[in-house]
């Protein structure tokens, strides 16, 4: 699980062009969206859907389902684990 999370952080940084961040800057349980977290927005949510399909073969057809799944690195990792 922790390896998955580390990989995810690197993939997030690449997919969302978060050039100024390193994986260590992203906390496992910190919210990714909104002003309190990384400040990601709805465009990033679509990029997450692409990331899940291209890296993990998981498809999400309805973008509105994404918000909960993409809440934090923890929730993302849990979703990937249970869908692979």
């Amino acid at each position: 699980m922790s390896e998955l999370k580390e990989n995810l952080k690197a993939q997030i940084i690449e997919q969302l062009s978060l050039e100024d961040l390193t994986p260590a800057d992203i906390k496992d349980d910190a919210p990714l969206f909104g002003d309190e977290g990384l400040g990601l927005d709805s465009i990033d949510a679509l990029e997450f859907i692409v990331l899940l399909e291209s890296n993990y073969g998981i498809k999400i057809a309805d973008p509105s389902k994404g918000r909960e799944i993409f809440h934090s690195v923890n929730s993302l990792a849990a979703f990937i684990e249970s869908n692979q």
Partner: protein, 301 residues
């Protein structure tokens, strides 16, 4: 139709950003020149910066500085771009051509539309006013400027007019078959604040006109000057691109040697005109004849 230029900012291959007078650092471009970029982080929020292509960064920074130097918030924004956000356009072409899965990365598509530039400016400035994007090949800046002058004529008090274009490597493949030019493709953004007459210490744009089937440049210039009641003897400087008749103006400067090739570079000529030490009662004429048959004329006082 005339308006005062109260602020003008350029980012491009010249070291022009933040300069009082851009003539002082002006250098003809070499073949390998690059954009002289300011530190964009000072002007653009990190959340936007991470997605923004060079043309967006250049345009947004220039627009932001124009707003900083203008007391009144802009009540209209008019942007000209000839080829728009080319880098993201090419990136999205590559995205869907090489795609194997069901999903496609949307960011390049979102930022590929021409009005991404003006839209990003409205968002960064929190500006809810008139927001327009003009694209007309080599006359893209002039059509945006005509709209800006129209806004002033209609009673707007503070109008942002700008032009921005970016080069991608692919463009060079189009020479010489589709595009003929001795200059290398380059990138550039120039933004200016226009206000009604009486508000400025710098220069004024007196008029701008565009011609699409120009066969007689000399005649077009003569008519344009006559319409503005300006005697051709009072033209002190002609800033030109492409071929123009040699008989006009005391001094003629080809501005493309400083900008390189992009099709809204007449905006940079406007900056050169604004910073030029012009004698009293004299005028500057910008003659944009980058593409044969298409003529843009801008008169500066």
């Amino acid at each position: 139709m005339s308006a005062v230029i109260t602020s003008i900012v350029s980012i491009g291959h010249q070291d022009s950003f933040g300069k009082e007078n851009i003539w002082e650092t002006l250098q003809p471009l070499g073949t390998q020149s690059e954009v002289v970029a300011p530190d964009y982080k000072t002007y653009i929020s990190p959340a936007s910066l991470r997605r923004f292509s060079p043309v967006l960064r250049m345009a947004l920074t220039a627009a932001q500085v124009c707003q900083n130097e203008t007391v009144l918030p802009f009540d209209a924004i008019s942007v000209g771009t000839s080829l728009g956000c080319l880098k993201d356009t090419e990136r999205f072409l590559q995205t869907f051509i090489t795609a194997t899965g069901d999903t496609l990365s949307p960011t390049a598509f979102i930022q590929s539309t021409h009005n991404t530039i003006a839209g990003a400016i409205s968002m960064a400035l929190g500006n809810h006013s008139y927001n327009m994007t003009h694209t007309q090949n080599s006359l893209s800046f002039e059509t945006a400027l005509i709209d800006g002058l129209l806004c002033i004529q209609e009673g707007k008090k503070s109008v942002l007019v700008g032009a921005a274009d970016e080069a991608i490597e692919f463009l060079e493949l189009l020479k010489p078959q589709v595009i003929q030019s001795a200059f290398p493709f380059t990138s550039g953004a120039t933004f200016l604040s226009l206000q009604p007459e009486g508000n400025g210490t710098k220069k004024a744009v007196m008029d701008c006109s565009v011609h699409f089937n120009n066969t007689n440049t000399e005649e077009a210039i003569a008519t344009f000057l006559k319409n503005n009641q300006v005697d051709s003897d009072t033209i002190e400087l002609v800033l030109f691109a492409g071929e123009i008749p040699r008989t006009i103006g005391a001094k003629q400067v080809n501005y493309e040697q400083y900008t390189g090739l992009y099709y809204s570079s007449a905006a940079f000529a406007c900056h050169l005109a604004t910073d030029y030490a012009l004698s009293k009662e004299k005028y500057i004429l910008i003659v944009n004849h980058q593409v044969n048959g298409k003529l843009g004329l801008t008169l500066i006082r």
